[in-house]
């Protein structure tokens, strides 16, 4: 029988790269010079040739791949479960045992060699080719393999006890792999078929359109401005460094991570619209304009600041454009009109100062309103705020005061004794909350709008 699971569900072996990788592992495990220690093992009174102990397999894996014991155990068990190894004792269990338990390799070549010998070379064409290929690839093992095959055939003829045991174990493993008992996951299960570009299955006809699109895409890509690697990679270092204290998984969070201590105070203190933001949160507003705008509390303070500078209409305009872009299709004409009346029309109540070229283009586009018609104007105002108002905000007394007043929560450790653990508080589902007037949460169509739940 061939080693390894037969692919089911129509996926060919090329589409399952993990199988060929496993085969390579197993082949290198059987390398006479660098493979696992193979010897004749004594199993009670029977001598089984070319067997390996679980221990030896583990050690080889740990050494070859520089992995931990746990990982080696896991990998060895996977090889077992897929049928590349079979146990000589306790064949019902497909878990690798890191002890003196004996295993043997299922090698596909044995099957082919057997067939070759039995029929004296009468293999089918593809099998012959495969046979020849395998011969070329692992000819250092060939003698060993032929020897094993001869011995298996002889055993079948003579039915020696040791060999019967081996054959029985092989068969049992085969069935464990292909028909696992209830409750055991089958390694052969596949997800629904996927089309793929590899030979024999093509879903799309690759017609002229497809190639023309590819050519267009490449031409556009060639025209892109690119940045030097050294420049763009530096940006990752800077970003990771800057955000590291704000990453709960890397740096923990105060008062504590709710998932670890079962205390959800962290969420209460960092709710979207909390009166007293934490220090880390206020610090983040200085990282980028986007961070400031994304935070409802930050945006609200920024709006206050802009009011003092008499340029609050810029932010309101930007919010209105966002609402248009992400709103429902049916609302587009009404929203465009509302924005025009409020912000762009000559003499409008909250007129925004856009450069004449952009204004001209926008007014032109307003004749046939669509959701992206205000994109140019929105970008202009965004850049205006980013380059002008935002830096002033960061230097302002208002921001400095916010930083100074910001809360640093005290740390709470996980209570050690079970009877002191807090019960996990539930929170109201966002789907229950009444609609709140907010710029950043759009309401579900026809249903109650609402911000995310606040504990």
């Amino acid at each position: 029988m061939a080693a390894g699971p037969a692919p089911s569900g129509g996926r060919s072996r090329e589409q399952m790269p993990h199988l060929s990788k496993m085969e390579r592992v197993v082949v290198s495990m059987q390398d006479p010079d660098h493979g696992v220690n193979m010897r004749s093992q004594r199993l009670l009174i029977t001598v089984v040739p070319h067997a390996v102990t679980g221990n030896d397999i583990m050690e080889w894996l740990i050494h070859k791949y520089c992995i931990s014991e746990e990982e080696a155990l896991h990998l060895g068990t996977l090889l077992l479960r897929h049928g590349y190894l079979y146990p000589l004792q306790d064949p019902g269990s497909l878990v690798l045992r890191p002890d003196e338990t004996l295993y043997r390799f299922q090698v596909r070549t044995i099957y082919l060699a057997k067939k070759n010998i039995r029929k004296h070379g009468a293999l089918a064409d593809h099998e012959k080719e495969h046979h020849g290929q395998l011969h070329r690839k692992i000819n250092h093992m060939w003698d060993l393999v032929v020897m094993q095959a001869r011995e298996q055939l002889r055993a079948a003829k003579q039915r020696r006890k040791g060999d019967r045991l081996v054959v029985a174990c092989q068969e049992q493993t085969y069935w464990l792999v292909h028909r696992p008992p209830p409750g055991v996951p089958s390694v052969l299960e596949q997800a629904p078929e996927r089309g793929s570009c590899t030979a024999r299955r093509v879903l799309m006809t690759k017609n002229a359109d497809f190639y023309k699109r590819e050519i267009e895409c490449c031409r556009r890509a060639l025209g892109r401005t690119r940045v030097k690697s050294s420049v763009s990679l530096e940006a990752y270092l800077k970003f990771s460094n800057q955000h590291r204290p704000h990453d709960p998984i890397m740096s923990g969070c105060l008062p504590s991570n709710p998932w670890i201590t079962d205390d959800d105070t962290y969420w209460a203190m960092n709710a979207p619209r909390v009166a007293e933001p934490t220090q880390l949160r206020v610090e983040r507003w200085a990282f980028s304009f986007q961070e400031l705008l994304q935070d409802p509390v930050g945006r609200a303070h920024f709006m206050d600041f802009l009011r003092k500078e008499f340029s609050a209409e810029n932010l309101s305009f930007w919010e209105a454009c966002k609402e248009l872009r992400h709103g429902g299709q049916a609302q587009v004409p009404a929203l465009v009109d509302a924005v025009y009346q409020q912000f762009l029309a000559p003499g409008a109540a909250r007129w925004v100062n856009i450069d004449s070229q952009t204004m001209e283009r926008t007014l032109e586009g307003l004749r046939r309103p669509h959701r992206y018609v205000l994109d140019a104007a929105q970008l202009h105002i965004y850049m205006l705020m980013k380059k002008d108002s935002y830096p002033r905000f960061l230097k302002s007394d208002m921001y400095k005061a916010l930083l100074a007043e910001a809360v640093i929560p005290p740390e709470t450790k996980r209570r050690v004794f079970p009877f002191m653990w807090k019960p996990r508080r539930s929170s109201p589902s966002p789907a229950l909350l009444p609609a709140s007037a907010s710029g950043d949460c759009a309401a579900a169509p026809g249903g109650p709008g609402g911000g995310p739940g606040e504990a």
């Binding site: 006809t205 763009s232 990752y236 990453d247 049916a330 249903g447």
Partner: protein, 395 residues
């Protein structure tokens, strides 16, 4: 001269010439038709100008791709791990399962977090879609879809609705209701229609628009209220398996990955492909943007995860290890982008140091493939869903 091989399994009346012939499936725009081999060949050469053949177009495309690679290589002056030598190595990482969500009777295929940082929606092979408060592990809503293999699900930004779909080729939106007299399935809204399975879906910045990816090789943007198709994205040569929206306020882009081993970045407004990357050796199962939006990571059946930089326009890191043989099904970044969590088909989760390229930790626990993995919106934990019917929250 056509570059196609086919699988004939239907005999009937051709959709074009109406003659009784052996038919093969053919895609025109997003519609699936059945053409006989003659009409299919004619269709393939449709749109060719004089002096053009499919072969010449194909070779032009190949040579342009080659030129593009050359241009990209010119500006590549340093590797990421070299730049990262200055960075401190990460210490030992201890992450444990803090919650186990049991309740699905079959393989969990997809999950998504709610913006409230504790609720999640998950979908499974038997058609069940469940909304949990994963902090208390209580189930809050459950709906059974009329199809199996619900491969995609998403939580609306407002927290008031969920979207899901799979082998039904559709994406449906369910408003969440606590009204005991109302059946959730009654208010279901069918939004997207594809010609093959739905592999991924995501709301854009509001509840009103949904972006979908499908086995028919296209992505599409839909208006939820009317079900109208706002934009479709053609360019993948095979099934699209995943997508992710860019975290940018000003931009309008998203990235998708597919069975054609390509990751493509799209402009939502024009429907055009902005950048494409083809370095993986097998299907791309998952794509996720780096938190700054300047890069994205991908996980593939070739057992590697890769990082692609959008400004340098190239692949900048490969996360792989010889002992990792099985494909990566799902990837996500920690909040600072320093860690990449990847779930694999060998039941494990590997944690990678994004900058140094080394593996920080391997997490065991699931008893079957990890099919989906997302970091929570505030980065306090991540949730993994598996074919072992459970979801686990790790912190």
């Amino acid at each position: 001269m056509c570059d196609q091989t086919f699988l004939v399994n239907v005999f009937g009346s051709c959709d074009k010439c109406f003659k009784q012939r052996a038919l093969r499936p053919v895609f025109k725009k997003s519609q699936q038709l059945s053409y006989c081999s003659i009409c299919a060949e004619i269709m393939a050469t449709d749109g060719l100008h004089e002096n053009e053949t499919l072969a010449s177009l194909k070779s032009e495309a190949e040579s342009l791709k080659g030129k593009l690679e050359e241009e990209r290589a010119k500006l590549h002056d340093v590797e990421l791990h070299q730049v990262a030598e200055r960075v401190e190595a990460l210490g030992q990482f201890v992450m444990k399962t803090r919650r186990t969500l049991k309740g699905h009777g079959n393989k969990v295929l997809c999950m998504d977090w709610c913006k409230d940082k504790r609720r999640i929606v998950s979908s499974s092979q038997d058609g069940k879609v469940i909304v949990w408060d994963s902090f208390t592990t209580n189930k809050e809503h459950a709906v059974t879809m009329p199809c199996t293999w619900v491969m995609a699900c998403a939580y609306a930004p407002s927290g008031c609705a969920i979207a899901c779909g799979g082998l039904d080729n559709k994406c449906s939106v369910y408003p969440l209701t606590f009204d005991k007299n109302e059946n959730m399935a009654a208010k279901k809204k069918s939004v997207a229609m594809h010609t093959n399975y739905l592999s991924a879906c995501s709301f854009t910045n509001s509840d009103m628009q949904i972006l979908t990816a499908s086995g028919d090789g296209t992505c599409a943007l839909w208006d939820v209220e009317s079900g109208q198709l706002l934009q479709s994205f053609h360019g993948h040569g095979a099934d699209v398996l995943c997508l992710d929206l860019a975290p940018s306020e000003t931009g309008n882009t998203f990235v998708s990955g597919g069975c054609d081993k390509k990751a493509m970045v799209w402009d939502m407004r024009s429907g055009q492909c902005v950048q494409a990357f083809e370095t993986h050796e097998s299907d791309i199962n998952s794509v996720r943007y780096y938190p700054s939006g300047d890069a994205f990571a991908s996980g593939s059946d070739d057992a590697t995860c890769r990082l692609y930089d959008l400004r340098a326009d190239r692949e900048v890191a490969i996360y792989s290890k010889e002992s990792i043989i099985f494909g990566a099904s799902s990837v996500d970044f920690s909040l600072s982008g320093r860690l990449l969590f990847a779930g694999y088909n060998d039941y494990t989760i590997n944690v990678w140091d994004v900058l140094k390229g080394s593996r920080v930790s391997i997490l065991f626990g699931h008893e079957n493939r990890v099919s989906t993995l997302r970091v929570s919106p505030d980065g306090t934990a991540f949730c993994s869903g598996s074919w072992d019917h459970t979801l686990r929250v790790w912190a």
